[in-house]
């Protein structure tokens, strides 16, 4: 019969699927088969274990894109990503995960290094990725500011001088207004000093013979540090041994020299992201101080040409990780994108710098905002425990299904085993796709949970079947009805679970994502195995013999009370007792593990 043949083919398909899944789930078998590249295949088919199962490090960095011009942010982040990648690969970690992520307005880089033991070492290595910048002088803007600041300072000094001369307590004024950190808390007290201890302008005043002890010098004294209000407290000694005890209030004078480097120079947009390569270069100054020669990419070359053109005769500063490394004076415009960093470098320093620059200079600075590390031994025991739990779970569910749903239960268990094998096979095969699946502890939990859910579908079907049987239908018909009627419930139930897994996947981080993805996969896959596979198997195996052994199939169910006036298909009354005592469980064709 055509129908029977079709069923036979379908069943054969199921068996084939089981076989393939089993193979893929245990690729060790491959090495016994005479296929070429067996070893490689086995390698590619390895299950990717997550950090919490093999031990490793998870690092999360925030990338500071505030200095990057708006349109270039994505580009800069990508560049940073590839730099970190190069660094990680240089560290020699296989199967590392490096990705960008976004949270709110902050851009993050996530680095996962499985199998790495020393987290401090790893962090240091990553941090070493230098942030290279070229900056030009901010002098014009600054000098105006400096002059203004100095004017204000002097004005304030004059005001306080008046107050000091009027007899206000000097010490209090010093504590409040002096900006000499060494003395202000002591009321500006400088202790006894001989000539020559202070700068000449200071000395010239305090050693004046007409400067009385206990008075405040009536004018501001200007030195390289700024403006001083000086009070002489007392003096002692004669001639060379003469010492004067003074106190002062300092109002600082700023100049370009006192301004910090990072303020003195402003960003130009030329940074590590434009660096094509760096090399050690020996200046043609004979034995030469070793230098670093840089080659920029096309865009960098252009930027550099503009910068040098603008700054001929001025200094251009090179910053590494926020500290100035060298500030050469530009001789002329440099159009070819080559630059040289000279400084007091030893050869070792230069080589190190070149290595770091080549391995990658970060276009944006990064700070560590989160880390997690799992020791490999913890991971190992977690893996073993969870696998064991999964095994127990599978076993328990199988026992339950067989006890309660008897022969039908066997079908469910059979499908369950295939399901597990198929899911495992999918994990392994994902290594070939651009979306390799990483198995984490939560992933295993998701896997185990999905087993319970997979079996649910079968429960629904079998319960429905029981009901149909209790109305007196034939076994075959009851089964079909069971599958058909249960389908809407199965579908709706699984969809609602899927909805939450989708939400979890989108919003979740490591633990949650791993769990949700695998649960989702499992739910989808189980729709196939629990429904289609079981259906095929049952249709194949359940034949006319079953009619006489209904109780072999499933425990009978009390028929629900009929509603008045309703048309229901009640054929014969069913006795709730057993018809024939079940002889033995029929040997079934499923694979037992």
């Amino acid at each position: 019969m055509k129908q029977k043949e079709k069923i036979r083919w379908q069943f054969a398909g199921v068996l084939g699927l089981a076989l393939v899944s089993g193979l893929l789930a245990y690729p060790k078998v491959f090495s016994y088969l005479p296929i070429p590249n067996a070893g490689q295949v086995e390698q590619k088919l390895k299950v990717n274990l997550g950090l919490d199962l093999q031990g490793g490090i998870h690092l999360e960095y925030a990338a500071d894109t505030s200095q990057v011009p708006a349109g270039k942010k994505a580009e800069a982040l990508q560049a940073a990503l590839s730099v970190v990648e190069r660094r990680v690969n240089a560290f020699g970690v296989g199967e590392s995960v490096i990705q960008l992520s976004k949270s709110g307005s902050e851009d993050r880089i996530i680095v996962e290094l499985p199998g790495v033991k020393d987290i401090e070492e790893a962090k240091k290595m990553l941090k070493e990725t230098p942030f290279l910048e070229f900056r030009e002088s901010n002098a014009e803007a600054l000098s105006g500011k400096i002059t203004q600041a100095n004017d204000d300072s002097k004005k304030q000094a004059e005001e306080i001088l008046v107050r000091a001369k009027n007899g206000e307590d000097f010490a209090t004024l010093a504590k409040t207004y002096s900006q000499d950190p060494g003395s202000k808390d002591k009321g500006g007290d400088l202790g006894f000093a001989k000539k020559g201890m202070f700068v000449p302008e200071f000395d010239a005043v305090i050693f004046r013979d007409d400067f009385q002890s206990g008075t405040v010098y009536p004018e501001l004294v200007e030195s390289q540090f700024g403006w001083h209000i000086i009070k002489k407290i007392e003096e002692r000694g004669e001639g060379d041994a003469r010492e004067v005890h003074t106190a002062h209030i300092l109002f600082p004078k700023r100049s370009m020299d006192t301004v910090s480097d990072s303020v003195k120079y402003k960003a130009t947009g030329l940074s590590g992201k434009n660096l094509k390569s760096a090399a050690v270069d020996y200046q043609s100054q004979g034995f030469g101080t070793p230098q670093v020669s840089l080659q920029f990419d096309a865009e960098g070359a252009k930027l550099f040409a503009d910068i040098t053109k603008r700054n001929v005769g001025k200094q251009v500063a090179i910053f590494l990780d926020g500290e100035i490394v060298s500030a050469p004076t530009v001789q002329n415009e440099i159009p070819d994108g080559r630059a040289v960093i000279t400084g007091n470098f030893t050869l070792a320093e230069v080589k190190d710098l070149v290595r770091r620059l080549n391995e990658g200079a970060l276009p944006v600075p990064i700070t560590l905002v989160g880390q997690q590390s799992i020791d490999a031994s913890l991971g190992d025991s977690a893996l073993k425990q969870s696998l064991f739990a999964g095994f127990i779970g599978l076993l328990a569910v199988s026992v339950f299904m067989i006890l309660y749903y008897r022969f039908l239960g066997f079908g469910a268990v059979f499908a369950l085993l295939i399901y597990s094998a198929m899911l495992l096979a999918i994990f392994r095969l994902s290594g070939y796709t651009p979306f390799p699946i990483t198995l984490t502890l939560s992933g295993i939990a998701g896997f185990i949970l999905s087993i319970g859910i997979a079996v649910d579908a079968n429960v629904l079907i079998f319960e429905r079947t029981r009901e149909e049987l209790s109305y007196g239908k034939t076994v075959a018909k009851s089964l079909e009805e069971g599958f058909n009627r249960a389908w809407p419930s199965i579908r709706d139930g699984h969809v609602s679970t899927l909805i939450t897994t989708v939400v979890l996947t989108i919003l979740g981080t490591g633990f949650v994502k791993g769990f949700a993805v695998i649960l989702a996969l499992g739910v989808l896959l189980s729709l196939f195995t629990a429904v289609v596979l079981v259906h095929t198997w049952l249709r194949f195996v359940v034949g006319d013999w079953a009619e006489g052994h209904k109780t072999l199939l499933v425990a009978p169910k009390r028929a629900p009370e009929a509603e008045e006036g309703e048309s229901r298909n009640i054929e014969s009354g069913i006795k709730n007792g057993k018809k024939d005592p079940p002889v033995k469980k029929k040997k079934s064709k499923h694979k037992k593990r």
């Binding site: 590390s373 319970g452 429960v459 629904l460």
Partner: protein, 298 residues
């Protein structure tokens, strides 16, 4: 046939008391929030020398660093777990250095550091995730049951399910307030994941019952009392509901008992949620439908 719907008064009392107790537990004990939500650092070390440095010695070593909310806990494994609200990574480095001074050969088993911005994210995501899931599920149910607008609207089905779900989540959270207070169990991202999973899964059960109600309503030619139809539906689906939950509970129990420390409380949360979810699907969700119907009738 059990008079579940007719005796729904008892259901409401039982659930009401549980819910009230849960709210009380959460209000009084609070949830013990872990690193994920508070931010901070947790370092687990194993000392090489025996006897291992005492808790007080470790605290002394770290006293100079001015750490906030520092707690030190000895573990059975000749080790210690040190927790504090960190500001940044350099502080962590200093802590490690001080620890190394007490025992140069110690091994660091675990360092978890969640900066403030990351934990802020996690908090935000947890709230959004829950809200989103609830809304999505309610919408889905309303959509799936759109054809059954009589005698109560399809949105009522959604509400019934959502209230039952909220009840499940509330009680589970109440339990974890207790666990937090008396067993020191911390609530972090896994807990939220468990809650969301409970949301998604427990609705299964409710749908099974609603499905049957829908089927019986569509079938019933006579204007049978809505209450009777619902009660019959619940009875008919009871063994189904219990068994589907049972299969999940079995596997979860296996994980809770045999699985590692990392997933233990996660599976306990799921266990509680699924158990109460089943209870609420059978007793609460359908009772709510009938009550709503009664309210409308007045």
């Amino acid at each position: 046939m059990i008079d579940i719907i007719q005796k729904r008064k008892y259901t409401y009392w039982f659930s009401g008391v549980l819910a009230a107790l849960s709210i009380a537990a959460i209000a009084v004990f609070g949830l013990r929030l872990g690193l994920d939500f508070n931010g901070g650092t947790m370092i687990e070390v194993r000392f090489a020398k025996t006897p291992a440095p005492q808790v007080s010695e470790i605290q002394g070593a770290l006293a100079t660093l001015d750490l906030r909310s520092l707690t030190v806990q000895a573990t059975g494994d000749n080790g210690a777990i040190i927790r504090f609200l960190a500001s940044d990574d350099t502080v962590n480095g200093q802590v490690l250095d001080e620890l190394k001074k007490t025992d140069a050969d110690l091994s660091v088993l675990r360092t978890d550091f969640i900066g403030a911005s990351v934990s802020g994210d996690i908090r935000k995501n947890a709230i959004w995730g829950t809200l989103l899931s609830v809304v999505a599920i309610a919408a889905y149910i309303a959509f799936a049951f759109r054809k059954v607008s009589f005698p109560i609207g399809s949105w009522e089905y959604g509400w019934g399910a959502v209230i039952a779900l909220a009840h499940d989540l509330l009680i589970t959270t109440g339990f974890f307030a207790l666990f937090g207070k008396f067993l020191g169990v911390e609530v972090g991202v896994p807990f939220i994941a468990a809650l969301l999973t409970i949301l998604g899964y427990s609705v299964n059960d409710t749908i099974v019952v609603y499905d049957r109600i829908r089927e019986n309503l569509l079938r019933s030619r006579t204007k049978s009392d809505f209450e009777t139809v619902v009660n019959r539906s619940v009875n008919e689906t009871m063994s189904r509901s219990i068994n589907t939950s049972l299969t999940v509970l079995i596997v979860l129990a296996a994980v809770a008992v045999f699985g590692g420390e990392g997933v233990r409380w996660f599976s306990v949360a799921l266990l509680l949620g699924v158990t109460f979810g089943t209870y609420s699907s059978i007793f609460v969700a359908s009772a709510l439908l009938v009550s709503r119907y009664r309210m409308r009738e007045r």
